[in-house]
């Protein structure tokens, strides 16, 4: 076995894993925040993520056809696209909650879950329908932006592209912003109060419905921004793109401890790193017997082990106490 090779690619794999991990973390926040306040899994979240990615690609494509993509400063374009993806996905999440979940809030736990799966199917095919009418396309490609594709070669096997840096910086800023919002502001206190005990929170004068809407708005916005970053990083999206990342992010949320915001970040990073290392190293270490195709099996086996020893996730589940 080529030892130099194994060591040589280590930093690159670490970087690939971190990028993937941040992506999972951003999506996982949507699952975990909703679980925190409502104790239910919003399975439509993966489609909220995809809608963000589609908003991003539509804006970039229209800028491109208007000829503004090259002329406008790239950082401004990127910020605008991220913001648009976040706002539209956030509003979509709020609408979904209002239409498909709120009427079912007093129903047994499984009912809104089924409603969520229905919304997920609906959104997948709605996006597919709109795109096939509008662009007659299934796969959409993010228009390349030269600045983002610039690469900085550190060694012959390791390089960092501008877009990877953008993804990491954007993810870190958003995670930090959310952390500050939840822990240091009045709104954050209200969210935590609702998560802990809805009845008591409403007795304290907190408008529970508004806080739940706000939770969906924030979770959806993070998901939408993650969608834009996903498109910028990997380039190709289609209406079903969200399914696998959504599933992985949900897993990341459980891994970190569902309902626990720092847990979702940690869970996302752990899962992203596990996956990247499995995909890059498995075939090298086993002499090709087990290839990259086994990455999910490896990552999920580790996950099962972690959950056997820490059933409430790495940082522990946060569930409101019952009176």
């Amino acid at each position: 076995m080529d030892f130099d090779l194994l060591v040589g690619i280590f930093p690159q794999v670490l970087l690939d894993g971190l990028i993937l991990g941040f992506m999972y973390a951003l999506i996982a926040l949507g699952y975990t925040m909703v679980y925190g306040v409502l104790e239910f899994i919003n399975f439509a979240h993966s489609e909220i993520f995809v809608v963000g990615a589609f908003v991003g690609v539509e804006i970039l494509l229209s800028l491109q056809s208007a000829g503004w993509l090259e002329r406008a400063p790239w950082i401004l374009v990127l910020l605008a696209v991220l913001l648009a993806g976040a706002v539209i996905s956030g509003l979509l999440a709020v609408t979904i909650e209002r239409v498909a979940y709120r009427p079912l809030r007093t129903a047994p736990r499984l009912i809104p879950l089924i409603s969520a799966i229905g919304v997920s199917f609906f959104l997948q095919d709605a996006v597919r329908l709109v795109e096939s009418i509008w662009r007659n396309a299934f796969n959409l490609v993010y228009p390349p932006m030269d600045v983002l594709n610039e690469r900085y070669e550190l060694t012959s096997t390791i390089d960092v592209s501008m877009k990877s840096l953008v993804v990491i910086v954007a993810a870190l800023l958003m995670l930090w912003g959310l952390h500050a919002l939840v822990n240091r502001t009045k709104i954050g206190t209200a969210i935590r109060a609702v998560a802990e005990d809805q009845a008591a929170a409403s007795l304290m004068g907190i408008n529970v419905n508004r806080i739940i809407s706000l939770t969906f708005l924030i979770g959806g916005a993070m998901g939408g921004a993650a969608g834009v970053l996903f498109g910028v990083q990997y380039g190709l999206i289609n209406p079903y793109t969200g399914f696998i990342p959504g599933l992985k992010a949900f897993t990341a949320a459980v891994l970190g401890g569902i309902g626990n915001i720092p847990g979702a970040m940690v869970g996302g990073l752990v899962l992203g790193l596990l996956e990247a290392f499995a995909a890059s190293y498995m075939s090298l270490l086993t002499g090709g017997a087990f290839g990259a195709e086994y990455k999910d099996i490896f990552a999920f086996s580790v996950l099962i082990l972690i959950l056997i020893f820490r059933p409430k996730g790495l940082l522990g589940e946060v569930v409101r106490e019952r009176a």
């Binding site: 040589g8 690619i9 796969n139 990997y234 380039g235 289609n238 195709e293």
Partner: protein
């Protein structure tokens, strides 16, 4: 109010049903009945570009060649099915197809992994399937009397690829990626086996179902620095892979089979695939002298250039219609059995060459091409340069 609403809906349904009943069972005075031809190809999803081409090629051929049958009193109809490139959907459609007694032949599929299980269903009723695009050897090697194809095979195509890698590209090392489907993994294995025989070192053989994030696969490839990357699969997966690989600084040459042959390859991967080579069993329409008129008619009717396999579907349909005509001779009603038997005797010179079937349903001689991507403009996919053209006889049936 609720019951009023439901009653209203019921009345409406009833009215519609009554309205449709006479239309559904037309009593054709002079006609003998209807002959239907089904297509099965992905009409939705990431491979729809090629699947749509198969449907439209068939449609054009049906309109062009149905005259004789219509004169004999038969109405000819096309029934397109969407197999979504998924085996389970293909088989479910196949069950619907065999249930419709008027369907006398199927043109399809795009994916060998879908064609193989679906043709098991057609075999139950001896229904002809003529494939314009399925290259996996198993499709015909099972020796089913009802299964035909008008294109070449992967055990030859893989070798054409490795021959080109060895002889023309002078590759010493190769890294092979495949998509884990019957088709993609199959052709990748044929490539690998023959490449090793020729002395090319295969330093990696990797299957993946990934569609967007190829980073962790690319990192070890970059470290191993192969001369050539062979992707056994379809363009919707290969294109983002090639794009990411180039963007990450991989300098290896790219090569792949006919699954890459779609304008969507450049639509997705842009200039990163310009200059790469791929092998195909279907040349671009421009290499067939007789196909010019077909391309013009296609463009006029559907407003786009024919995708690869559209011309093959057109020829396959012409063969099927000839067989139906032959078995309708003398005023007889053609049956599935008579059509299946008649296909074997058809010798057809179509736009992609002359097709004559051997005992297992392969064309006796098939064309294989090596093509080079000419431009990053998807509109110009048809201009891809033909680097090599070979006529190779189909291998004999395997011993059982």
């Amino acid at each position: 109010m609720g019951s009023h609403f439901i009653r209203g809906v019921l009345v409406l349904c009833l009215a519609l049903a009554v309205g449709f009943v006479p239309a559904a069972s037309p009593v054709d005075a002079q006609g003998k009945g209807t002959v239907k031809i089904a297509t099965q190809s992905p009409l939705s999803g990431g491979q729809a570009a090629l699947g749509e081409g198969i449907k439209l090629g068939t449609q054009l051929a049906v309109e062009k060649f149905k005259g004789n049958l219509e004169k004999a009193g038969w109405k000819v109809e096309l029934v397109p099915f969407d197999d979504q490139a998924k085996p389970d959907v293909g088989v479910a459609n196949a069950k619907n197809i065999i249930a419709d007694k008027d369907i006398l032949g199927v043109i399809g599929h795009l994916n060998s992994g879908v064609a193989i299980p679906s043709s098991e269903v057609y075999k139950e009723v001896n229904l002809t399937m003529i494939s314009p695009a399925n290259t996996n050897p198993t499709v015909t090697d099972r020796g089913y009397a009802n299964v035909y194809r008008v294109c070449g095979r992967d055990d030859v195509q893989g070798v054409v690829g490795s021959e080109f890698a060895h002889g023309s590209l002078k590759s010493k090392t190769a890294y092979v990626i495949h998509d884990k489907t019957t088709y993609g993994q199959g052709v990748a294995e044929f490539f690998k086996a023959d490449a090793e025989k020729k002395g090319i070192k295969v330093i990696g053989f990797e299957g993946t179902e990934e569609k967007s994030n190829f980073d962790p696969i690319i990192t070890p490839i970059k470290a191993k620095n192969p001369d050539l990357i062979y992707f056994g699969g379809i363009y919707e997966q290969a294109a983002p892979f090639f794009k990411a690989a180039r963007e990450k600084g991989i300098k290896a040459k790219f090569l792949g089979p006919d699954g890459l042959d779609s304008s969507d390859l450049t639509k997705i991967a842009g200039k990163t695939v310009v200059g790469m080579h791929y092998t195909s069993v279907a040349g671009p329409v421009s290499v067939y002298p007789q196909a010019k008129q077909f391309a013009d008619e296609y463009k006029k009717k559907f407003g786009k250039n024919p995708e690869p396999f559209a011309a093959q579907a057109y020829d396959a349909t012409a063969i099927l219609l000839k067989a139906i005509e032959a078995s309708a001779k003398g005023g007889k009603a053609p049956t599935r059995d008579s059509v299946t038997a008649a296909v074997r005797d058809v010798k057809h010179t179509g736009i992609t060459g002359t097709v004559e079937f051997d005992a297992k349903g392969d064309p006796k001689k098939a064309l294989y091409f090596v093509l080079q991507v000419a431009s990053d403009n998807p509109e110009k996919w048809g201009d891809n340069k033909e680097v090599k053209r070979l006529t190779i006889a189909a291998p004999a049936a395997p011993k059982k």
